[in-house]
């Protein structure tokens, strides 16, 4: 197979060369592997930076002892438990959110960076079709749109999101919730 030269930043090449050395491999092998994967990702219509950001959050969720469960089971569990547990369920969701938020801000140094919080929420709540964070004159507006959610599911998701935002350092200023729609306004504490 033919070889050609490719230019890259010197400091990156240095770091890759050290890495290759530590792994008992060659710089040629290591760089080809990275390029091959990025092209594979392109073929899938994805971009490596997004894939890596996604991986980081999933890894965090793994360490945080989260599990993947079928949504249809989750909905049943949610509806039925709420009949029994009532308001105490809200507290459980809020505490879970706070835990997630605390964990996130402990691990990530740039926890206050909005794109990073957005990416974190988007991955943790990947079943929500539209989850957005917007900065508007010193306020952060969180929008959630998920037409498949029941009112209960919407309320509990909103409670969990508030828990996350509170432990990252934001205070709720306004809350609007209807079935499948949440609009939360936060201010930096």
């Amino acid at each position: 197979m033919g070889r050609k030269f490719l230019a890259a930043r010197e400091e990156l090449v240095k770091r890759l060369r050290n890495l290759a050395k530590n792994r008992n491999t060659t710089l040629y092998g290591l760089t080809n592997q990275a390029l091959e994967q990025v092209l594979l990702a392109e073929d899938l219509g994805e971009e490596l930076p997004e894939i890596i950001a996604n991986h980081r959050v999933i890894k965090m969720a793994k360490e945080n002892r989260s599990v993947l469960i079928p949504e249809r089971v989750w909905h049943l569990v949610l509806e039925k438990t709420s009949e029994q547990a009532g308001d105490s369920l809200k507290k459980v969701f809020y505490d879970s959110g706070r835990w997630y938020g605390k964990y996130f801000s402990t691990l990530r140094l740039k926890a206050s960076s909005l794109p990073e919080i957005k990416s974190f929420l988007g991955t943790i709540f990947w079943n929500i079709s539209n989850l957005d964070l917007i900065e508007e004159s010193n306020k952060i507006i969180l929008k959630l749109i998920e037409p498949n959610f029941t009112l209960l599911h919407t309320q509990l998701s909103s409670t969990m999101l508030e828990g996350i935002m509170h432990s990252i350092g934001y205070a709720t200023q306004e809350r609007k919730i209807t079935k499948g729609l949440v609009l939360l306004t936060f201010a930096n504490e």
Binding site: A7, Q33, L35, V38
Partner: protein
Amino acid sequence: MSSRKDKRLILVRNDLLQEIIKVTAREGKTVFAFTNEVFEQALEAYQMQTNPAEILQFYIIMKLEKDRGICIIPIDLLNYMIQKLYMIEKEDLLQKWYDSGSWYGKYLSVKIEKENWLQIFEKQIKKSAWNITDFSIVEREKSIHLRCICPYFTKESTEAFMKFLEGIMHSSNYETIKNECLRGMILLKFKKWKQEE
């Protein structure tokens, strides 16, 4: 802007370089900028104790999970709720897990080849059910032995997950001949119950 001094030339496979040229032309980037971006991402992947190939493979599995309607839930929340519900609606709850497993089994058989079904199912569970510390499927004397160790599950969550696994296996024409369930441990034995056409 990088000066010539900040740049280094490295050897790469020619076929990869040709592909990169096509991608950068399509995206309106320079090859230099694209390469730097890829190397930065690759270094970040290695910092996370993995590599770009593993990350991509994991991403594909996660995408499959997302497409089949799976959500991420803190395990304490799940355990709390299942425990509450178990006392009052045990049968309904277990049936829902079983149905969900049946659906997943059918979904997997549509997505993957029959010959590799068990191996891919094992791999999929190992990758996505990350709270499970040990999961194996072994074929022995015309029967299938499934072992699952999930130490963070309560007794109730373990039983619910066992129903999910049985649902998967039954939808692929296996019947349970033995099941043992202790807190955090599932031991199942199956045999094929009818010949597929």
